[in-house]
């Protein structure tokens, strides 16, 4: 099935938001990337055809923006901020720990296709350094001793997503609650294929034993630091 066949209603809704069709190019590229896992040449041409644009224009856009991948990437893309001030607040130690645990370097993918590691510039969460994004989900205050817990958590989420017949790229739809339940989170973005939104699990999946929800508060994805008066 083509992108247009799979997501016709959503594509039309996106295009309707703009006075010019071309404005839909970033949203449609996100849609294509989430559907195919990465942007193949064919996917890029498909987007160009939907928007009646010269294919070279869309290739140029893909090359310009760093969040578009024109090569295969892991189920989880780990983007670690190494900018100022993070690099002076533990980012380098975190990257070293990730490299060692995963056995890969920057811009490489693990052989099981689960993780790609990247260095990125400021993620606008400098107060929570060291910080990373796993497929654009923030994980804050990731000290090296939490790396193993993080990776286990991400693997469990990917496995849950696969079990439900969802492409691994949508593993970020699953997350652990504070009490350790694995739940599907509400999807509210026009850039995501609604077909992939499935019923939340009836019975809570049990957390992997490595995630100890009570002992450690767990990985912190909450949006503000607790100490902040704001």
């Amino acid at each position: 099935m083509t992108l247009l066949e799979i997501h016709q209603a959503e594509i039309e809704a996106i295009i309707a938001r703009y006075a010019s069709k071309r404005s839909a190019v970033l949203p449609l590229l996100y849609l294509a990337q989430d559907t195919y896992g990465y942007l193949t040449d064919d996917a890029i041409r498909e987007v160009a055809a939907i928007l009646a644009l010269p294919a070279t224009d869309v290739f140029e856009v893909v090359g310009f923006y760093t969040l578009f991948y024109n090569r295969p990437v892991g189920t989880w893309v780990l983007q670690v901020c190494d900018d100022v001030p993070c690099c002076y607040c533990g980012a380098e130690e975190l990257i070293a720990a990730l490299k060692q645990t995963l056995g890969i370097s920057e811009d490489e993918t693990t052989s099981d296709g689960m993780f790609t590691l990247q260095r990125v510039k400021c993620l606008a969460a400098c107060d929570r350094a060291p910080v990373l994004q796993a497929n654009l989900d923030y994980v804050y205050d990731v000290t090296p001793d939490r790396v193993q817990m993080l990776l286990n958590d991400l693997r469990a989420r990917a496995a849950e997503a696969r079990k439900r017949g969802v492409s691994g790229r949508f593993a970020e739809d699953y997350e652990f609650t504070r009490d350790g339940r694995l739940v599907q989170i509400e999807r509210f973005s026009p850039y995501r294929p609604r077909e992939f939104v499935i019923e939340p699990p009836a019975a809570p999946a049990s957390p992997p034993s490595s995630v100890a929800p009570e002992a450690d508060a767990g990985l912190d994805r909450s949006d503000t630091r607790k100490a902040s008066p704001l």
């Binding site: 938001r17 006075a19 010019s20 071309r22 404005s23 839909a24 190019v25 970033l26 949203p27 590229l29 996100y30 928007l51 644009l53 224009d57 140029e60 856009v61 310009f64 923006y65 760093t66 969040l67 578009f68 983007q79 900018d83 100022v84 001030p85 690099c87 002076y88 607040c89 990125v120 510039k121 400021c122 993620l123 606008a124 969460a125 400098c126 107060d127 929570r128 350094a129 994004q133 654009l136 989900d137 923030y138 509400e186 999807r187 509210f188 973005s189 026009p190 850039y191 949006d223 503000t224 630091r225 100490a227 902040s228 008066p229 704001l230």
Partner: protein, 434 residues
Amino acid sequence: MGLSEHIVMRELDIPDIADFEVYRRHGGWEAYRYALTEKTPADIVQMVKESGLRGRGGAGFPTGIKWGFLPKGVYPRYLLCNCDESEPGTFNNHQIIDKNPHQLIEGVALSAYAIEANVAYIYMRGEFAAAARTLERAIAQAYAAGFLGKKILGTDFDLDIYVHRGAGAYICGEETALMESLEGKIGQPRLKPPFPAVAGLYGKPTIINNVETLANVPRIVEKGVAWYRSHGTEKSPGTKCFSLSGHVNRPGNYELPFGVPLRELIESPEYGGGMKGGRPVKIIIPGGASAPWLTAEHLDVPLDYESVAAAGSMLGSGAVIVLNDTVSAPHVAYKMDEFFKHESCGKCTPCREGTHWLVRVLHRMVEEGHATTADIDTLHSIYRQMAGNCFCLLGESAVMPIKSALQLFPHEFEALVKQSSHRNGHHIPLMAHR
């Protein structure tokens, strides 16, 4: 300043304030309802003008005056909300949206009414996927309640607000690059003039403002100009959400009136809580990566646009990065210019080549340990060729870290030369990639 005095980060301590009903119960959306039913768009523009509200995106340009640049009688007009927030050290937009999305949406809606725009786009950096979801949900609630859409609250005003996500490019925060990006192109800045107010998105009159700027508008309308001006200083009224990061005990966003001394932000137990481990302050970058550096001797500078400028820097986005004596100034300059090199859009030569060469030379000096006296001259020569010659402010900003480091800490560059002198005399490779 107590919590009750917060203007932008108001009610962030209320649980579930992100929910429409809760925000409404705390007086949310009232300013908008009042404006639509009892005030004309021109009234609101006048109010914002008198409030002295200044743009929080970096330049500090008076918002009401900017709105006044729109050519009379030309429609459609667009309102763009700039949430690209990608400058190292800046993170308040992110928190405002995560915590209290309705305040921003109300601000956007009110401002759209004031400038007579029927469509507004909130352009968010691509990494803010979760925040985009939060906003989309809040926008849907506002539609459902009849605050957005057609014939709002029985008036003739129609408004649609859309979230548009970028895809990883700091330059898209520059207003004209943002418009290019929103039009589906690569994010390269446009030549100005024409300014966006005259010919912006799709060539139509467009107003672009930062998230924090627009989040101020509901309170100005609700509480009035005099109340607003009772905060901050004469020329910088109101409050600023300072994003404090680096080697302080309590990094975070702190909303304080303009004019608060840097020392108070860093040292007060309520805010920064002092330096980690009690180490001395070495470098203060008061306005995001683009701002010239300050040092410990500037701790008494009041944080408002004029005072920080008088101290030789700029308040910019209000992102205050504080670094202690463990960092090496050449290394900080290297990391910062690596950021600018990474984000240079490649349109003009001084920036594309200048940032590239700055990083190559600095990398060799700092990371590879090969430094010669000639390198110091080279660095001076590169930034001098960039300064004043770049197409947009990104290239001009890239001058600041290296220039500051060379001016404030020349001995550290000389020390690098000394340390590597025993290696000199044989070929020094320039790194081949990056």
